[in-house]
Symmetry: C2
Subunit: 153 residues, 2 copies
DNA sequence: CGGCATCCTTAGGGATACTG
DNA sequence: CAGTATCCCTAAGGATGCCG
């Protein structure tokens, strides 16, 4: 990937990558979203599985609800006391490809080969799921075949 | 996406998402990598285009070189003085899909509609480039059709 | 140009203890 | 169980100034 122009000063102010970090938050937010994407719903499970402390977990959950990536519902199973649960919204589900891409990179470049990391399966056929680039004309695209052009999307 | 198991305690220690953040670094590292993916090579340009301060930029460049995502070369054009430049390694290029996925999310959910953000083009045909999920059997996969299974990849 | 040194402020995050 | 309240430490990051 490269610019076709000589890249003028760049309006860093409207960079969608920076904007994503500004909305989603820090590392810990991605870990909370990871757990939510795995189906974790309850506070205590987020704490246990994310590896984050309670205050941080609580803060991220609150913030992600405020940003609209998670929804909080209080529900009560018959005969049980009320519980809170957090589930992904459409906005939150839309970030799952980012999580998968992060996962793929980490598995390849940041973990020891052979570390147990689980796998993503296509529910329809059981085959492994991966991210990829493709163009609107339907071609598979390599990173080196993508060119960034500044200006209106 | 959801777990098919009840998700036991989770070995957060070997989470590839967390590992990616641990290797790549914080938000500013992604902005530096963004610029590198656009073809930015020189220190002053990284500073001007990333919107980061010089010390932070210098620190990220040094760290990303140390982690093997960037390579630093000193080169001298004929009749010019020596310059340093930073270019992506294969390990660094491999993270571009993460950047693209972050970019797509931000454009959709974190920026005002209509903000100028540029676009990615397939060099072969000029069509826009997007990320997507697919399975090893070749099917396009929706987020909701991916299931995470713990255990060896 | 390509940095590093210093200083400062804010944000991220863990530990612990406590409350509804 | 689902948090909140403190306290404390470290990391992130900007501003400024200096140096090869």
């Amino acid at each position: 990937m490269s610019t076709s122009t000589a890249s003028p000063p760049a309006p860093a102010g409207s960079c969608p990558i920076a904007a994503t970090f500004d909305v989603v938050g820090p590392r810990s937010a991605f870990l909370v979203l990871r757990e939510a994407s795995f189906g974790t719903r309850r506070f205590a499970d987020f704490v246990a599985r994310s590896g984050l402390s309670e205050p941080i977990t609580a803060g991220r959950l609150r913030q992600l609800v405020a940003e609209g990536l998670l929804e909080r519902h209080t529900y009560r199973e018959p005969g049980q006391r009320a519980r809170d649960e957090y589930t992904l919204t459409a906005k939150g589900r839309a970030i799952v490809p980012v999580l998968i891409a992060l996962r793929e990179w980490g598995e390849r470049y940041a973990l020891e080969p052979g570390e147990p990391v689980g796998r993503l399966e296509h529910v329809d056929c059981g085959a492994g799921v991966r991210t990829g680039l493709h163009c609107d004309a339907g071609h598979a695209v390599e990173v080196t075949d993508a060119s960034f052009v500044r200006g209106p999307a």
